[in-house]
């Protein structure tokens, strides 16, 4: 295990914050107190991110659908108001983008072990199937939402679903 501290890019935190505010998950003074001082271009320790995740998760009895929706909302914002539209043209492109060098690995910084994997293991476009291996320290429901939101964002796919494997290490995607 490396002594290096895993860091998260400010843009990811900003995206997360904006999604939470858009969905009214947190609002008012709590939102201001929670997200004030986050700079888009800075890096923050993973603990900061974990703390922000905890705020949402601890507020809900069943936080899975909420975190999934946060992930979808994050990608909707990224595509419509951020750089997304210029980077991908079709839903399937997002799979390649997110699992490539400009995707997940560009917003986290640390040792390989800490960063974990977010890799496209299989894609069969004809069948509309793909498998992503995920050993990141992030919430799996949110990642699930990120994949769904990112793939639906360009609007060319009629159906996208993502299921988390029982061992929590893979996400199976179906798209049409």
């Amino acid at each position: 295990m490396s002594d290096e501290i895993l860091e998260v890019h400010g843009s990811l935190i900003q995206g997360y914050a904006q999604a939470c505010i858009n969905l009214n998950i947190i609002a008012g003074k709590v939102a201001i107190d929670t997200f004030s001082g986050i700079n888009m271009n800075d890096w923050y320790p993973l603990s900061k991110w974990t703390e922000l995740e905890r705020i949402v998760i601890s507020s809900y009895k069943n936080s899975g659908p909420i975190m999934q929706r946060v992930g979808i909302e994050m990608m909707r914002g990224w595509y419509n108001y951020g750089p997304g539209k210029g980077l991908i043209k079709a839903g399937v492109d997002f799979l390649h983008f997110q699992t490539g060098s400009k995707g997940y690995v560009s917003v986290v910084k640390g040792s390989k072990e800490q960063v974990g994997k977010f890799e496209l293991k299989l894609i069969v476009k004809e069948d509309g199937k793909a498998i992503v291996e995920s050993t990141t320290p992030f919430n799996k429901n949110m990642e699930q939402g990120v994949l769904i939101g990112g793939m639906l964002a360009p609007g060319d796919l009629d159906y996208v679903d993502a299921r988390i494997s029982e061992d929590n290490t893979h996400i199976e995607i179906e798209f049409h």
Binding site: Y60, K61, P65, I66, Q68, D158, Y159
Partner: protein, 540 residues
């Protein structure tokens, strides 16, 4: 009709003219499934949100119930606590929640929404100064958060504060309160001040009653001690003198006195004070001293209060003396009843009474010299076995001794600077020489300062000829005049200028003579000579 055309149209094509290919049907299938999936995801999201809202409502409900419980508890506390509690904001306005006791204490239903200044001091005109002080103090509490707590407590203007208020029957009532002020902070600033009123009216009343009982008890003890010290007969004489003085004071109040009779009154009350002090009847001595003060103000007209107010004060003094007469008479009766069974007291003769008196003078001199921080030894030599004028000469002896201690003997530093022993020496001698009783009072003090006497006599316009032509004998005669004293400050011990007048008056009545020998820094000797045989027209 193609799939896209179909989906954007308002209704299905007429006559069932569907022009859909297999590819269109597949897309339609996935679009439909996609919508279902989205609906499923939305449903899950809203279910979770709903759950969350439900638990939030439950939490809110629980908190509301807890809040209500706390409010009721708080209300119960505020309704039952026997202290007045209220909160004020930075405009000094009283907030909604306050304890019921406040209404009871201040006899009003109007509390919340009032300024605390108006609440405590409803009479704006009559309590301007009090309102100003309280307002200043509250400003300090709100604005100066660094002020020391101890200093703030010392500055608190509402400690044992007497407040006048109008009750529900429009009658003025007085209450005494202790008020505490507790700052309620919001960060580094003061948000509110909690004001706590404690009703101490009853406690203060009890304290006064206790003090009254204590004073009465001390007065009784003083009376017993005085009876023992003076002996029952002399004590009766003292009571008679006291009653006389009260009568004279009453006459003074009833008629506007001429200067001469005022001088007599002064002399008698001064004599009463001296005798009381000698007998340790401090209450009577203090009352006499107060009345003397009032008479001086009356005589010199140097007071801002009116003659009517002065007389009212004197009237109070008379009432106090009357009460003292009743008290000591009662004690005397108890004591006499008690002493009837005492063989010792039955056998008291003139000689033992004289010895009793002379011994008690030692205590008196010791008391006064202690008060004045002087070291004095009193030596008494009495060779008169059966002195018939003992009662008459007691007062002159007391006054001369008091004068010797106060005026004659210097303090030890002055004595040491004149190469004298630190301890002063007073001798009292009572002898019979041929046809006279001789009473000598000698002190080794500073002697009479004739220059000072002369100056005082000039100030009082008692000298009509040139000052350099005035002899020492003439100055000694001036010293014997009533109201003459060289002391600038009147003390409890001397300074009124009536001591020597009393001596002179007594000696005149006894057809006696006074001789004075004095030398600066050596001492003074007063010699009183009283003829053994008094003629028929002896004083009455």
């Amino acid at each position: 009709m193609g799939l896209n055309e179909l989906l954007t149209s308002q209704k299905p094509p007429e006559n069932g003219k569907w022009d859909l290919k297999n590819q269109d049907l597949t897309k339609f299938f996935w679009k439909y499934k996609g919508l279902l999936k989205e609906a499923e995801r939305n449903n899950a999201f809203w279910m979770s949100t709903n759950d969350n809202m439900k638990s939030a409502y439950e939490k809110l409900d629980y908190q509301e119930r807890e809040l209500l419980k706390a409010y009721n508890l708080n209300r119960k506390f505020l309704d039952n606590i026997k202290e007045g509690l209220l909160l004020i904001d930075s405009n000094f306005m009283i907030l909604e929640q306050y304890s019921d006791f406040l209404e009871e204490l201040f006899k009003t239903k109007r509390v919340a929404g009032l300024s605390i200044l108006d609440f405590i001091y409803p009479d704006k005109q009559g309590s301007q100064e009090d309102r100003k002080v309280l307002s200043k103090y509250l400003n300090l509490l709100f604005k100066n958060t660094s002020a020391d707590q101890e200093m703030l407590s010392e500055m608190n203007p509402l400690v044992e504060k007497e407040l006048s208020l109008v009750n529900l029957d429009y009658q003025v009532e007085t209450i005494i309160v202790n008020v505490d002020f507790i700052r309620i902070m919001a960060g580094s600033s003061v948000d509110n001040i909690m004001v706590i009123f404690q009703d101490i009216t009853h406690i203060v009343k009890m304290q006064k009653e206790l003090q009254y009982e204590k004073d009465k008890h001390e007065e009784e003890l003083e009376s017993i001690s005085a009876i023992i010290k003076a002996g029952p007969q002399s004590f009766q004489g003292f009571i008679n003198d006291l009653i006389d003085v009260i009568g004279q004071l009453q006459s003074f109040l009833d008629n506007d006195p001429k200067k001469n009779s005022l001088d007599v009154l002064f002399r008698n009350i001064h004599s009463l004070k001296g005798t009381s002090r000698y007998m340790n009847l401090n209450y009577i001595a203090n009352q006499s001293h107060k009345i003397e003060d009032l008479l001086v103000k009356y005589k010199k007209k140097t007071t801002v209060i009116t003659e009517y107010e002065l007389k009212e004060e004197i009237k109070k003094g008379i009432q106090n003396l009357n009460a003292a007469v009743q008290n000591i008479t009662k004690m005397q009766e108890i004591f006499i009843n008690f002493s009837r069974s005492s063989a010792e007291l039955k056998d008291l003769n003139q000689e033992s009474l004289a010895n009793h008196f002379l011994i008690s003078l030692q205590d008196m001199v010791a008391d006064i010299s202690n008060t004045m921080n002087k070291e004095i030894k009193l030596q008494i030599d009495n060779t008169i076995h059966d002195f018939p004028y003992l009662e008459e000469v007691k007062s002159p002896i007391i006054h001369l001794l008091r004068n010797a201690v106060d005026h004659g003997i210097e303090d030890k530093f002055e004595r040491l600077s004149h190469n004298k022993k630190a301890q002063g020496h007073i001798k009292l001698g009572l002898h019979q020489k041929e046809n006279n009783y001789i009473i000598e009072i000698y002190d080794d003090g500073r002697g009479i300062d004739f220059e000072k006497v002369k100056q005082k006599a000039i100030d009082k316009k008692l000298i009509v000829k040139k000052p350099e032509d005035v002899s020492k004998l003439e100055l000694l005669n001036i010293m014997l005049l009533p109201d003459f004293s060289t002391k600038e400050v009147v003390s409890d011990i001397s300074g009124r200028g009536y001591g020597l007048d009393i001596v002179k008056d007594t000696l005149t009545k006894l057809r006696g003579k006074i001789a004075v020998a004095t030398e600066m820094n050596k001492g003074t000797r007063f010699t009183l000579m009283i003829p053994v045989k008094q003629t028929e027209e002896k004083y009455v």
